[in-house]
Amino acid sequence: MAYSDKVLDHYENPRNVGTLDKNDPNVGTGMVGAPACGDVMKLMIKVNDAGIIEDAKFKTYGCGSAIASSSLVTEWLKGKTIDEAYAIKNSAIAEELALPPVKIHCSVLAEDAIKAAVADIKAKQLAKETA
């Protein structure tokens, strides 16, 4: 499997590896994938009161392309509103990393992880408002 330089860079030097406090009301968590399928991504975002993503962290069990896809989106997410984050498409991730066709599913998983994290933070916000 030939990897693009960008995939190799993210694989060798992954950005924003780690976790945020999942109990923080401003932190949304998205975990997608399954071990049996070969990839699991966990994405955490911290959103300020203005709805801007201040921080993003990830952990990924998966191939180099899956690691690179999740590392890349943590970079993209910072500074975005959650609505802008929700609009990120897998095709943009695949294009940026020059993923080959067999690795497109890695970018799909990264998009799913963003959507899951945003859904989690929205649910938390809703719970806060109704409390």
Binding site: M1, P35, G38, K59, Y61, C63, H105
Partner: protein
């Protein structure tokens, strides 16, 4: 080593004393730990082969001049060396192009010759594809087959083997040493069962020569496959042992000039055969000392890797050749693992070359989960592996596994005491 031959590749690999050069470091070639895939040709073997490409180029089948006689003498000398390593009579050795051809010739040749006796074949799910696919081809031709699963340690339960025997069982094929996990089957016991039931017994010994003692005078085996390139000989040459007493018959699969007593036609590749003979001679002379040295290295590697948590050795450790260590690293994904260990040349239980991730069928047959099968690495150690190579490998594996686990949400969950089997995964 005392070789002084000039070959660019060998020169790069060995220093002036014939010792393997220190090839560690980022830009260097990765350290070779894939001896079960193939071995380098020993420089002493290569030196013996070269005159038979240039000076002594005669056809061993040419009976009317010294060119032919010289080649024939070399071929027969090599046949004797191959026979000696495995306790056979030289007349029981048939040259082939390698173990794949030997397996095909043995299985199809014997099944076809004895098909009137019955059309049922027994083999093992962890056999090499050259055996499994040859049996599958016979199924296509009207034979039936039983593919036995080994026990979780990779070894065959003899009772299960006995239970698979039918009145029409004509042939059984069981490998001596498994190529992926290195386990050694009890060939004597299985062979005795075959004898009692009048079943032809074929053994694929491609991974066994030079690693375990083989004495066909005592072993109840009818047909045995060999190749040169796993034992420091050249690729493209192998042999099939065909027992004379009691005489085993096979149908030729390659028809032509009637070479090899009609069992395998085709002009003999003298230089390749000379290489196999020399390689097997060296194996016979050096295997005891060599295997003791390799066992030490293997155990050092095993103990080094075992200091990490959640590592699992695949296959029985006791009934195993010293050269092999197959080990799974839990909570690390297979393909990223292979990317991480670029500094060593090893084989992986994960075949990620296509869209579908196919885990090793051998490890699956042992009952390993897909995840553990994917995250396995086969280290195979050989003649030119040094202690420094092993030290380097242990350090590399530790740092890379640590890094990947630091990245792994599964490792984090495991560390938090979460039972991963109880998690509801969003399968995709």
């Amino acid at each position: 080593m005392s070789a002084s031959i000039e070959m660019p590749v060998l020169k790069d690999m060995f220093d002036e004393n014939g010792l393997a050069k220190d090839t560690h470091g980022a830009d260097a070639q990765p350290i070779y730990l894939d001896y079960s895939a193939t071995t380098p040709v020993d420089p002493r073997v290569a030196a013996k082969m070269i005159p038979y490409i240039t000076e002594h180029f005669g056809n061993p089948a040419s009976r009317s001049h010294p060119y032919g006689w010289t080649a024939e003498k070399a071929v027969e000398n090599a046949r004797e060396e191959v026979a000696k390593l495995v306790g056979a009579d030289p007349r029981e050795i048939v040259w082939t192009s390698g173990a794949t051809e030997s397996n095909n010739l043995a299985i199809k040749g014997a099944a076809n010759f004895y098909s009137e006796k019955g059309k049922h074949i027994i083999t093992i799910t962890t056999e090499h594809k050259a055996v499994i696919d040859a049996v599958r081809e016979l199924e296509r031709q009207g034979f039936t087959a039983t593919y036995l699963d080994p026990e979780p340690n990779g070894l065959i339960d003899l009772e299960k083997f006995k239970a698979a025997i039918r009145p029409d069982t004509v042939l059984a094929s069981v490998m001596f040493v498994n190529n992926e996990i290195g386990v050694i089957q009890d060939i004597t016991a299985i062979g005795n069962i075959c004898r009692e039931n009048n079943i032809i017994f074929h053994v694929d010994a491609a991974q066994a020569t030079g690693k375990v003692e083989i004495d066909l005078e005592k072993l109840p085996v009818d047909l045995m496959s060999f190749c040169a390139h796993k034992t420091y000989g050249p690729k493209g040459i192998g042999a099939l042992y065909v027992r004379r007493k009691p005489r085993i018959r096979i149908e030729a699969q390659m028809h032509g000039g009637g070479h090899e007593r009609g069992m395998r036609s085709g002009t003999l590749a003298t230089h390749q055969i000379v290489g196999m003979g020399e390689a097997f001679k060296l194996a016979r002379e050096e295997m005891v000392v060599e295997n003791a040295r390799i066992l030490k290295l293997r155990n050092k590697l095993l103990h080094g890797l075992e200091t990490m948590e959640e590592v699992y050795v695949n296959g029985d450790l006791e009934h195993r050749v010293p050269h092999n260590l197959n080990i799974s690293f839990n909570y690390v994904e297979g393909e990223s693992l292979i990317m991480a260990v670029k500094g060593i040349a090893v084989s992986s239980g994960s075949a990620c070359t296509s869209a579908s991730l196919e885990p090793s069928y051998v490890l699956r047959a042992l009952g390993r989960s897909d995840e553990l099968a994917h995250s396995s690495i086969r280290f195979s150690i050989g003649r030119f592996t040094t202690e420094e190579d092993i030290d380097y490998t242990i350090n590399l594996m530790k740092s890379k596994i640590d890094k990947l686990r630091e990245l792994s949400p599964l490792w984090e969950m495991f560390k938090d005491g979460i039972d991963l089997s109880k998690v509801q995964w969003a399968a995709h």
